[in-house]
């Protein structure tokens, strides 16, 4: 049996993965407009939405706008799905992540439908979300996403969406 190849230095791996995530997120104006950022631990992403006055939908409570909640969940779902596709290509060596920029990214999946379940009103503070790809086929994908604020176990919204996968060259 051939000896196992020496693992890559940790900094090289981190740089490659962080560059890929940055290319995916930084180029989307709407993500910047809402102020959404993504934390990465290995392949796991957590989206954060820092509170801002312009995200308010009800000034009397005050509460986050339902549309902001929907947009936050949908963004998290699309980025998670795109990231899972990109990760596969990158780790298999088919894409050089250091050459990626917002205008040279693989095509993004398109939302077919998105259903948001509002569980409690969004408070005027930071929000977090994580998505799980339940099915990722050649043409369609199904993604579930959960959002919370202070307590991970007290969700303020969750959603399920279906996505049309980008056409592949093969």
């Amino acid at each position: 049996m051939a000896p196992r190849a020496r693992p890559e230095p940790v900094q090289v791996i981190k740089q490659r993965r962080d560059a890929a995530l940055r290319a995916l997120v930084a180029g989307v104006p709407y993500i910047q407009f809402l102020g959404i950022a993504f934390d990465r631990r290995g392949d796991e992403l957590t989206a954060t939405l820092p509170f801002d006055e312009k995200l308010i939908g009800n000034p009397m409570l005050p509460a986050l706008h339902g549309g902001v909640t929907a947009a936050f969940l949908e963004t998290t779902a699309i980025i998670e799905l795109s990231w899972s596709l990109l990760w596969e290509e990158m780790e298999a060596g088919r894409i050089d992540a250091t050459l990626l920029d917002p205008l040279h990214l693989p095509r993004l999946p398109k939302t077919i439908d998105f259903t948001v379940d509002y569980l409690r009103s969004g408070l005027p503070r930071d929000a977090y979300a994580r998505a799980r790809v339940n099915r990722s086929g050649r043409r369609y994908a199904s993604v579930h996403v959960e959002a919370w604020q202070d307590n991970r176990s007290r969700l303020f919204a969750q959603a399920t969406g279906h996505f049309l996968m980008p056409a592949r060259d093969d």
Binding site: V28, Y30, F33, G57, V68, A71, F114
Partner: protein, 146 residues
């Protein structure tokens, strides 16, 4: 109050919501459970930098606002409302550069739940950009709105 007075108050209310203002939403029509709200094409809202198409999330925000306004304008709705559930179907990409116009109708209301249908169009009236169905809370009188 006359129709124009009601319309002015409703317009002020919708356009005073910080997020609606941030997206440039304008109330075009309201009354008897029907609302129409539109927003301009805006480069800050682009979701796909390669095509310039507006992000679905911004269309969701427009739909949610429009549905909520339709519920509040329904004669059977005493006060404010909050979204329970909203499903959006995306038929096609909105054409870059064009205004997006949403129209929502609260077609049924009980003492606790309002049922709403909505659609969003760009300059092509024949085929919607997206359609939505939602359920919204109906506040008991005296309850704080959410």
């Amino acid at each position: 109050m006359d129709e124009q007075g009601k319309m002015a108050i409703a317009r002020q209310f919708i356009e005073a919501i910080p997020h609606s203002r941030a997206l440039g939403m304008v109330l075009d029509e309201i009354g008897e459970g029907v609302a129409a709200i539109s927003m301009p094409y805006d480069l800050r809202l682009v979701g796909d930098p390669q095509t310039g198409v507006i992000h679905g999330g911004a269309v969701s925000a427009l739909m949610d606002t429009c549905c909520g306004a339709a519920v509040m304008s329904h004669p059977g709705s005493p006060a404010g409302t909050a979204t329970i559930d909203l499903r959006i179907d995306y038929m096609r990409a909105a054409t870059p550069g064009q205004r997006i116009r949403a129209r929502a109708e609260c077609h049924h209301i009980t003492r606790s739940v309002a049922f709403v249908r909505a659609s969003a169009h760009d300059d092509n009236d024949a085929l919607p950009v997206a359609t939505a169905t939602g359920t919204f809370t109906v506040q008991a009188t005296g309850e704080r709105m959410a």
